[in-house]
Symmetry: C2
Subunit: 351 residues, 2 copies
């Protein structure tokens, strides 16, 4: 299946908890491909936000899910230990420790159904490969499927499963690593090296993600063979994003020059600015597997965000975060395209 055509080669990376319908619609209306992050949405929210998106734009858009393998299972002792460890952070914030740990909700199949019913032009996904039946349903619906790969082996696995396109996620990317075959620390390949290898190995349309913060990066991604460049962190500063004021303040400070991979918030590796939370919860023995850790830390993150405290929230940021500028999303899209065009003309003169 061919990648739905959009006017400019800029993709809004799916950002759960940050990308509002307004942000996704603004990117689409500016000619880019907006992707709604639905992993943290209920099936009802997916239906409502999908419908709202359709009402706001006639342009193509995508919806992203995490690929899950319910029923979720974890050892009680592991969960109890992680719960106790998170309790020490609740104590630091003066929050009461729940008697029992919050448990992840299993609504994965219903999420898939909701995405299918929302009929996005693109179904993108992270953390694995949907089962054959699910992929077949999207194919029958005429939806382009777009899987996330952090290694060439993952890209080949996606192609062999019949996925239509690949997001090649370099090690620079903010937030969750999409890694699903090898260990994360064996799957940290920079975008400039990963993209051409994925292009060559799969022959599929490839979208480059990771470390792309302005139009120079967009031009670089296209030169590497990508069909478009996905930007995430750059859009966190847009007024349409639901980024918390505490997070925005960190993103515009010198602190954003240094990011780390952490499993503290969700149980899965993700890149962000280190803070009290990541420093306190770094021993693998203290962390429950995803999605248990994610469910247990949610109230702490929400409370800290509400009180403007950056030390107990996930400060997701990619390595190009210092290149971000506060602008409305449509202006960001237009600016990076202008910058990309200027970069290409400059390089053409140099070569």
């Amino acid at each position: 299946m061919e990648l739905p055509s959009f006017e400019v080669p800029v993709v809004l990376a799916p950002m759960g908890g940050f990308a509002t319908v307004a942000l996704v619609a603004a990117v689409c209306e500016a000619g880019g491909l907006g992707i709604l992050a639905a992993a943290y949405l209920t099936p009802e929210q997916i239906a409502a936000q999908g419908a709202e998106l359709r009402s706001r734009t006639r342009k193509p858009f995508g919806i992203n899910l995490f690929i899950e393998n319910p029923p979720y299972e974890a050892e009680d002792a592991v969960v109890a230990h992680a719960h106790a460890r998170i309790g020490t952070l609740r104590a630091e914030l003066g929050m009461a420790q729940p008697a029992t740990p919050a448990r992840p909700v299993d609504h994965y199949r219903a999420q898939i159904d909701a995405v299918l019913e929302a009929r996005p032009d693109v179904f993108s996904f992270t953390f694995g490969i949907p089962d054959a039946r699910t992929l077949e349903r999207f194919r029958a619906a005429g939806t382009f499927t777009l899987g996330t790969a952090t290694t060439v082996a993952e890209a080949i696995a996606l192609r062999e499963a019949g996925v239509d396109g690949v997001i090649a996620q370099g090690a620079e990317a903010g937030a969750h690593r999409g890694t699903f075959l090898a260990a994360v620390d064996e799957s940290l390949i920079g975008t400039i090296a990963l993209v051409p290898q994925v292009v060559d190995a799969t022959g599929l349309p490839v979208i480059a993600a990771g470390g792309i913060g302005d139009g120079r990066g967009v031009a670089a991604a296209l030169a590497l063979g990508a069909r478009a460049a996905a930007l995430g962190t750059t859009f966190l500063l847009a007024p349409e994003a639901s980024t918390s004021p505490a997070h925005r303040a960190v993103l515009t400070s010198e602190r954003v020059r240094h990011t780390v991979l952490t499993r503290a918030f969700s149980g899965k590796s993700a890149r962000g600015v280190p803070n009290r939370f990541t420093a306190a919860i770094r021993d693998p023995d203290d962390i429950a597997p995803y999605p248990f850790q994610n469910a247990m830390t949610r109230d702490v993150r929400n409370a800290a965000a509400a009180s403007g405290n950056p030390e107990y929230v996930s400060l997701w940021a990619g390595q190009a975060a210092p290149l971000a500028r506060e602008q409305p999303a449509a202006q960001i899209v237009r600016r990076v395209v202008d910058e990309a065009r200027a970069a290409v003309e400059r390089v053409r003169a140099e070569l």
Copy 2:
């Protein structure tokens, strides 16, 4: 000072132990900037190879050194323990264990003098910043100084010291990390994110290094704002390189898709293909600091290379290694420039 002009924006990354005078000269003659790796050469060898290089090409060339801080000091117990640990690998190879550990030779000041006398157009360096007096001597000689940075902070430190240009070394790069301010694991920034930030922060001429394996990467590097792209691993397969047959065999195998950072060989972090040596020597307590570890492992590496055994040699490779093709160096230069031009024309049509 302005970067000496060379015809095509391709730099041969300095590769100690691999880059022969013939390889450096071939890159220069093809219009790129060849850099002779002199860190492992004696002052006499620097003089001889510098003279040979001058006789082989009238084009600009560079010489690279490691910035050292002699006198070298390490705790005897640390060195003795590392020596014993390396001894277990000698036993695996049937090699006798020396009674006392080999010690690093201190000829750093004489190396600096030798480079100055060789009058290269470019003096590039790694692992730090030369003292002010040394930089002043190169300035007086009209030599362009080019320091290696793996973070924006290092790039700014180089500029503040009066260095003329910066090699921005992304996390993808093969062999030694140039990191000299923060810890290596806090200084692993991908090339696509690092280069534009270094360009913006310094205003100096920047050469991009790391993860660039063909002309798509060269075009990407230029789009990011670099004046040229440095390629290393790609040239290891050139017949002019002194890459061992065992190393060449690994570089052309599937094994090269996975690389790791290891301190096992030299005491400094470097990227290469994992083997028996990197698996056996990975506990930081088993490794002496650079250059002690480097001196102690040399005989093992040399013996293994001589016998064609890839398991006990440093199999340096960057993350773009799978893109390398066996070609004479001049053909590599011409091919990647052609590929870069084609990439730019393709991107121009897409934007």
